[in-house]
């Protein structure tokens, strides 16, 4: 007999997910450097030099454009700072790293396969003001600004030098072609000595190829350096992720509340709407029945049948409401509500719930949901003849034990019901432990923190 125990749901002390940046900072393995180191000769004839050149060239263009933009924003911004618009321009300059970072993270994929996680959190609103407020508060924004400034200055300067060297090398390499095809007697390798024969120009090609080789290796090194810088400045850090975990936790809690409110609303709508209408309908039909009493007409029989059908619809509606959020749970608390659902269960249920006080609404609702889910499961699949529900508050924790004497073998991973239950529990930092060996018994242990 195999014990199929499993803990579903996240334990309370779940760590935030390890940032992908850990591997970057732990053991930096920039793809281009790795390629350089592993097979230096092969590197020359691979796609790497081309990719690096494309990266550096586009980086230089981007950096130059950025330099102009930043300069314009700064000058105009400072000049107009007495007016409101100047401040706005300066603020724009401050957040310019955000779009630059986004572009750079994508551009980086040309030369490195590791995607960089976006360091920014989600926004609190859709307006531009909300965007500015959120972004200006984030450290990542200022790191990205640092990256943007160095892109506009250092990278641009180095890039211009590199592009000049690359251009010269290409030019030298193709000198024989130029001499032969386009302009004999006008090209000079050494000042004052025009070359008329392509063969004479071959030393130029040699020098050019040498230059290209240097450019290939230098390009690889430079790109690697820029990748490292980007990893350092553009990637999400622990602190970004931590604040996002907090933010996610909060939004998840809000979601639970919204979910709960929605269930109550549905219950109330059904109660005030459809249920009342149906009751009124049965009443009218009952009156009609009364009027027709004594008259032996087929109509009386039809009306009686209609009333039966309306009654059935009411019963079904009531069952539905009980599954959502019963009124008795709100009015009389968990013990009464569970006793109620236990009475209704096809398999006998013993209930033993001891509470020193009413539990918080969210916990009550969660516990009730757990019980109905467990009872449904046990009644449907286990073949049990008895089920027991025990509930206790232990310190800050409410624990429910639902045990049946059925055949066991419940698979918490396969069943959508248990899976959903575990997910809902996880939201409230609770957990579900299922023990269901083949042959039974099956025990569900539900733990929810009361201060949730």
């Amino acid at each position: 007999m195999r014990d199929r125990s499993a803990v579903l749901a996240v334990p309370e002390t779940a760590r935030p997910p390890d940032p992908a940046t850990d591997e970057h900072r732990g053991d930096p393995s920039v793809a281009v450097w790795a390629a350089l180191r592993r097979r230096p000769l092969r590197f020359l004839v691979s796609w790497w030099p081309w990719r690096c050149w494309a990266f550096l060239l586009s980086g230089t263009l981007l950096g130059f454009a950025l330099l102009l933009t930043l300069a314009a924003l700064l000058f105009l911004g400072l000049g107009l700072s007495v007016l409101g618009i100047g401040v706005l321009l300066l603020a724009t300059a401050a957040v310019i790293g955000v779009p630059v970072g986004a572009v750079e993270r994508r551009r980086l994929r040309w030369v490195d396969p590791t995607p960089l996680p976006d360091p920014h959190g989600s926004l609190s609103g859709v307006s531009a003001a909300a965007w500015f407020r959120t972004r200006l508060r984030e450290r990542a924004t200022w790191r990205e600004l640092g990256y943007a400034v160095s892109l506009a200055t250092v990278v641009t300067a180095v890039g211009v030098g590199f592009v000049a060297l690359l251009g010269l090398s290409v030019l030298l390499t193709v000198v024989p072609v130029i001499v032969w095809a386009i302009a004999p007697d006008t090209v000079m390798l050494v000042p004052g000595e025009p070359i008329s024969d392509p063969v004479q120009a071959l030393p130029g090609s040699v020098a050019g190829l040498l230059g290209l080789t240097v450019c290939a290796y230098a390009g690889g090194l430079l790109v690697g350096a820029q990748v490292r810088a980007a990893w350092f400045l553009l990637s999400a850090r622990d602190e970004d992720l931590r604040s996002r975990v907090i933010e996610l936790t909060r939004s998840r809690a809000r979601l639970v509340d919204a979910f709960e409110a929605e269930r109550r609303r549905i219950e109330r709508d059904l109660h005030d709407g459809a249920q009342q209408q149906l009751v009124a309908l049965t009443m009218t039909l009952g009156l009609a029945e009364l009027e027709l009493r004594g008259h032996d007409s087929p109509t009386a029989e039809l009306i009686s049948r209609a009333r039966g059908e309306a009654r059935l619809a009411l019963d079904q509606l009531r069952d539905l409401v009980r599954g959502i959020h019963p009124q008795v749970l709100t009015d009389h608390g968990l013990t009464a509500a569970v006793a109620e659902v236990a009475l209704r269960n096809p398999i006998p249920v013993t209930v033993d719930i001891e509470l020193p006080h009413r539990l918080p609404t969210a916990v009550e609702s969660m516990a009730y949901f757990s019980v109905t889910e467990a009872l449904t499961n046990a009644s449907k699949h286990s073949g049990a003849s008895r089920i027991s529900v025990v509930g206790r508050v232990d310190g800050d924790r409410f624990t429910l034990l639902i045990t049946d004497d059925g055949r066991g073998g419940a698979d918490p991973v396969a069943g959508a019901g248990l899976r959903g239950l575990a997910d809902r529990l996880a939201i409230q930092r609770g957990r579900l432990i299922v023990s269901s060996p083949m042959g039974g018994p099956t025990q569900l242990r539900v733990e929810v923190p009361c201060s949730a």
Partner: protein, 221 residues
């Protein structure tokens, strides 16, 4: 003819109930939509019987039930019939155990019951006459769960039938009529039941309450 004060927040249902009661020859003194108005109406003009919904404005919890209990505390032996959407036995118990010394008629009926017009009117008359009426559905739910349990296992099928009717609030005479047996044999059955369940043979509300309490208590064990 009974003078009735009615509290029901759903307009459609309120109008329907007024029509039903009027057609059946009763007088609806006032029909109100919330618990506070109900209390005012009863204080101003005491009726023969009060009919109230459990759930009413402003909070839509058990305002109607609480108002009924408060009214019974103020007006001695005021008969109250509570209509509920739910088979929740917790409400029925709350009503019965909160009813003071148990004097005065009490009823807990599911709203669906108003569709069975003659049954509903019969229940209303019995409540007005000081008897206790518990919805058969509520009793059925309690008994159904009981069938597997030991204490009730000792009862004969006939005794169980008598118990169900007792829990609904019928007196011995009505039970005899319903089961087409003599009142003497009902008395015999009921004393057997009380002996086997170890209950105190009492009358009226307290008898029903004792039976309900027993059923509830043993439902969970």
């Amino acid at each position: 003819m009974l003078r009735v004060i009615l509290a029901e927040d759903a307009v459609l249902l309120r109008a329907g109930l007024v029509e039903l009661l009027t057609r059946s020859g009763h007088e609806v003194v006032t029909a109100v939509g919330d618990a506070e108005a109900l209390a005012h109406a009863v204080d101003a003009d005491r009726p023969d019987v009060v009919i109230t919904d459990v759930r009413m404005p402003p909070d839509f919890h058990d305002e109607g039930l609480k108002a009924a209990l408060a009214l019974r505390a103020r007006h001695d032996r005021l008969p109250v019939l509570v209509l509920s959407q739910y088979v929740a036995t917790a409400y029925a118990t709350q009503l019965l155990s909160g009813g003071g010394d148990g004097a005065g008629g009490l009823g807990y009926l599911l709203k669906d019951r108003v569709g069975e017009v003659s049954e509903f009117l019969d229940a209303l008359t019995r409540v007005a006459a000081g008897q206790t009426v518990i919805d058969p559905e509520v009793v059925r739910v309690l008994l159904q769960q009981q069938s597997a349990d030991r204490p009730l296992g000792r009862l004969t099928p006939r005794e169980r039938e008598v118990l169900a009717l007792m829990a609904e609030g019928l007196n011995n005479q009505a039970i005899a009529q319903r089961l087409v047996i003599t009142e003497a044999s009902v008395v015999k059955h009921s004393s057997n039941i009380f002996m086997k369940l170890d209950l105190d043979p009492t009358e009226g509300n307290r008898r029903v309450l004792a039976v309900l309490a027993h059923l509830r208590e043993h439902a969970g064990h």
